[in-house]
């Protein structure tokens, strides 16, 4: 599996100061780059990382739906975050990474330029999204992380997949979940 899976370099987290943190419990985020900007998602949502592989396109879907791949026998959709943020489609190369994340009982892949780091931060490093922020990615942002003068936008995965991206599940007791693959 060495060619399909790899573990990004995890350091012990930033910042890891010796003195105790009176500012609340520590939380971990994974940071990554999309179109030159740095983003982060809650580490608990991440299932695995995968090198970019060609997808099978789904017909008549928005440009940010790159298609589906076979993840060990399960069909998983891949979303192009750059396209989702309105910056045009990614031209993926072998160095691009797919982050497999769990969003409300589904597994989906997010195509990003690179995965950077694991950040261990206190609650106090998080702040609300500035009102003036007018970037296209704004509606998907949950909060802003400030680390050593750097500002990292924390993505709210549910917001990313609310409404149009992931169509709502069929109503009623869903027979889909009982379906054999």
């Amino acid at each position: 599996m060495a060619d399909t899976l790899f573990t990004p370099f995890f350091n012990d987290g930033i910042p890891t100061t010796d003195d105790d943190t009176p500012s609340g419990p520590m939380q971990q985020y994974v940071s990554f780059t999309v179109g030159g900007s740095e983003f982060a998602v809650d580490i608990l949502a991440i299932r695995e990382f995968k090198r970019w592989t060609e997808t099978t396109p789904l017909p008549n879907t928005p440009p940010y739906v790159r298609g589906v791949i076979n993840l060990r026998g399960v069909v998983v959709p891949i979303y192009d975050l750059r396209a989702r943020f309105g910056q045009g489609p990614t031209q993926p190369t072998a160095t691009h990474v797919i982050m497999m994340v769990a969003v409300s009982e589904r597994t989906v892949g997010l195509l990003v330029d690179a995965v950077d780091d694991v950040l261990t931060v206190p609650q106090s490093a998080l702040s609300a999204v500035p009102e003036t922020d007018s970037t296209a990615s704004h509606p998907f942002l949950q909060a802003v992380l400030t680390i050593d003068e750097r500002m990292i936008a924390v993505l709210g995965l549910e917001r990313l997949f609310s409404g149009e991206v992931v169509p709502p599940l069929p109503l009623g007791p869903s027979p889909v979940s009982r379906q054999s693959p």
């Binding site: 060609e54 997808t55 099978t56 396109p57 789904l58 017909p59 008549n60 879907t61 298609g67 589906v68 791949i69 076979n70 026998g73 399960v74 069909v75 998983v76 959709p77 589904r106 597994t107 989906v108 992931v166 169509p167 709502p168 599940l169 069929p170 109503l171 009623g172 007791p173 869903s174 027979p175 889909v176 979940s177 009982r178 379906q179 054999s180 693959p181």
Partner: protein, 709 residues
């Protein structure tokens, strides 16, 4: 899992079956009694209620025991002729079955059972019991019952309502060498008997030979016992349960009763002269004793009860079968991969390899079919709740309806059966609510007052078709059209076809209360029905005749796991077309292609016109139209009978494909029913012919008269 947990699970598994059997039997009571089915139905219902009560003492709650007990008592009263099965009584019994099901599921999931379900009062009223009557002493009553019931051979009479006068039982017990060799100890039997009441023991030791002739393994003693007790005969027989198959004791009572033993060691009363104080002798015919069908092969209660007949069926955890299905799916993919790899090789250089691959392909197919056969179930279980639903819905709405079920034994994959339940119930409810007219209206229309709802299941060309039809008023298409125009779903002055109007019924949020009240149309939750059916890979077709009724046909795949597909190329992509949809493939002549304004190009094949769809273009893989006379056209028929001519670049070949859900992680994609994984590990999408047809129709309308569609 501990032994107790296992027993507990078996009990709840069995409860499901028992509840179904109870309901079936009670429902049968509602029909007129022809040929004495009533007696058999009451007996079956009684056995079911009794068995649930038996296990409930050990694993269930007090409420469950009480409801089961009262149900059993009512059934017993019917059996003995003290109550007559009326409509009201059947209704109460059905509700009691419901309450039992609620209690069982609550107990199984470890949540508190419903407290004092209303049906308890109903049952008590029927029996004339005061509300505070003590429920049966569960443990004392059920412990001796339990093992007897589990073998399901001799139903035990209910707990005696009053203590019968004590009897004196004379027991002649002669353990033989076989019994001793099997590890039975006569002393334990005697002790157990002593616990039942005053016991006089006379030991006959006259057969003991002189010491030098004594065989260590022989048994020379025999006992004559005299037991005075008012306990039921089965309980007296209990201590002999295990030893009886090897050396049955002679047990007689001073009133002439005698206890005999069947091969499993279960004691039952054979004859009695006494005026039966309890219903010892079941007046109704019982099923064959010890039939392998009813004897659970993994019976944890008495696995040691002597040699048993080989089981003809086994109970297997669904999870294990699912694992098997998954593995077979992977095997199918691996086999496709090997076949693909071998394509580049020269067949004459590796004859054995190609022979082996061919064998592998045929064995894989056979294995896959066998596994699917394991998962196949009759649709009966999805139909089980319907008779009751019809009765109750009709009653609630003041209508009269009867249900005819046809083809209950038709088999289909378990997951399809499970997924069918909800849509079926919805359709039936709709049929009674909106289809069947009130009795007076029916009379005025010259129809019988009882409306008829028919549910039919049958296999048709590799799929299962379930048809729900009623003989009601039919769908008022004019009203649908009016409403659709009001709601802006149709442009004013539109001239939709009947099919398009039926289609509107499935539009989410289309119907309103007002609509339903003034037309006999449907619509409440029809979008949900369709979503459920689509999720099973199925489709709904509607036909309605004004004044004569409406029919909904659901066509569903037999299995959700594997199917035969044709791989084809459209642009750079590979798609899978279900073989079942393909009629023929052809390369049309230029004069066979016509252009209809607003409908796109159509293909004329032997006088029939079929809309053409350029797959690569419609899916956005290519922007310029391709010349159908140079490409290939595959004529397909959807499950609903609609036809479409797909223009593709080439056909790759036929292959078994494993169906993978696209909905699980993504959702519905129009024109696509599911996905599969090809031999090279890539995902290929499976085409949904009916969806493609709709997609194309919509697009042509939008594009107006673009001649290339």
């Amino acid at each position: 899992m501990s032994e107790l947990d296992r027993l507990r699970r078996t009990f709840f598994d069995e409860c499901e079956e028992l509840l179904a059997s109870l309901q079936d039997s009670v429902t049968a009571l509602a029909a007129p009694d022809a040929g004495g089915q009533h007696a058999a139905a009451v007996a079956a219902a009684f056995r079911a209620a009794h068995s649930i009560k038996g296990g409930a003492g050990a694993f269930g709650s007090g409420i469950l025991v009480e409801v089961a007990h009262l149900t059993e008592t009512v059934l017993d009263a019917i059996r003995s002729g003290r109550m007559a099965p009326s409509d009201a009584l059947v209704g109460t019994l059905l509700r009691a079955g419901d309450a039992l099901a609620d209690c069982v599921s609550a107990d199984r999931d470890g949540v508190p059972p419903p407290e004092n379900p209303p049906v308890l009062a109903e049952l008590r009223r029927l029996l004339g019991t005061p509300a505070d009557s003590t429920p049966p002493a569960a443990p004392a009553n059920t412990l001796p019952d339990f093992p007897v019931i589990r073998a399901d051979t001799a139903p035990v009479p209910p707990a005696p309502p009053a203590a019968p006068p004590p009897r004196v039982w004379t027991i002649d017990f002669a353990p033989n060498a076989k019994a001793l060799a099997a590890g039975h100890q006569p002393l334990l039997v005697l002790r157990a008997l002593k616990a039942l009441g005053p016991l006089q023991t006379v030991c006959d030791s006259s057969h003991i030979p002189p010491l030098d002739a004594l065989e260590l393994t022989e048994s020379y003693l025999r006992w004559t016992l005299s037991l005075t007790t008012d306990i039921a005969p089965e309980v007296v027989a209990e201590p002999f349960a295990f030893v009886a198959p090897l050396c049955p004791p002679q047990i007689t009572a001073n009133d002439g009763s005698r206890i005999g033993f069947d091969p499993l060691g279960v004691g039952s009363l054979l004859t009695t002269d006494s005026p039966a104080p309890v219903q010892e002798v079941d007046p109704t015919p019982l099923p064959e004793p010890v039939s392998p069908e009813t004897d659970p092969p993994l019976d944890p209660v008495r696995p040691w009860a002597g040699p048993q007949q080989a089981a003809s069926s086994i109970r297997v955890d669904v999870e294990r079968i699912d694992r098997l299905v998954n593995m077979v799916g992977e095997l199918v993919i691996t086999q496709a991969m090997l076949a693909q790899q071998a394509q580049g090789l020269a067949e004459d250089r590796f004859p054995m390899l190609f022979q082996g691959l061919e064998d592998l392909a045929s064995h894989t197919r056979e294995l896959q079919e066998s596994v699917m056969a394991i998962r196949a179930q009759p649709v009966k279980s999805a139909f089980a709740r319907l008779p009751r639903l019809v009765r109750e819905t009709a009653q609630a709405l003041g209508k009269r309806a009867r249900l005819i079920l046809i083809g209950e034994e038709t088999e289909v994959d378990k997951s399809v059966v499970e997924g069918l339940s909800d849509p079926l119930m919805h359709l039936i409810r709709n049929a009674i609510d909106h289809g069947i007219e009130p009795p007076e209206e029916r009379r005025a229309a010259g129809k019988p007052e009882d409306g008829t709802i028919t549910v039919l299941a049958e296999h048709r060309s590799g799929r299962i078709v379930i048809q729900v039809s009623d003989d009601g008023a039919g769908i008022n298409l004019a009203a649908i059209k009016r409403k659709a125009i009001e709601q802006g779903l149709l442009p004013r002055g539109a001239d939709p076809s009947d099919d398009e109007l039926y289609e509107l019924m499935f539009h989410p949020g289309f119907s309103t209360v007002e609509l339903i009240s003034n037309i006999s149309g449907r619509g409440v939750g029809m979008d949900v029905v369709r979503a459920n059916v689509n999720a099973l890979g199925g489709r709904i077709l509607v036909r309605s005749y004004k004044g004569r009724g409406t029919a909904f046909a659901l066509t569903l795949p037999l299995t959700l796991a594997v199917m035969d597909g044709m791989l084809l190329q459209a642009g750079d992509e590979t798609y899978v077309l279900p073989i079942a949809n393909i009629l023929e493939s052809l390369q049309p002549a230029a004069d066979a292609i016509h252009h209809l304004v607003g409908r796109g190009p159509v293909l004329s094949v032997r006088g029939q016109y079929t809309p053409m769809v350029d797959l690569a273009r419609m899916f956005g893989h290519r922007s310029d139209p391709c010349d159908p006379t140079r490409a290939l056209v595959v004529l397909c028929e959807a499950e609903d009978g609609g036809k479409v001519a797909l223009v593709v670049d080439s056909l790759i070949g036929q292959q078994q494909v494993v169906i993978k859900s696209l909905e699980r992680n993504y959702g519905h994609c129009e024109g696509i029913s599911a996905a599969t994984i090809l031999g090279d590990g890539r995902v290929a999408l499976i085409l949904d012919v009916a969806g493609l047809r709709l997609l194309a129709a919509r697009r042509h309308r939008r594009e107006g008269d673009d001649p290339h569609g």
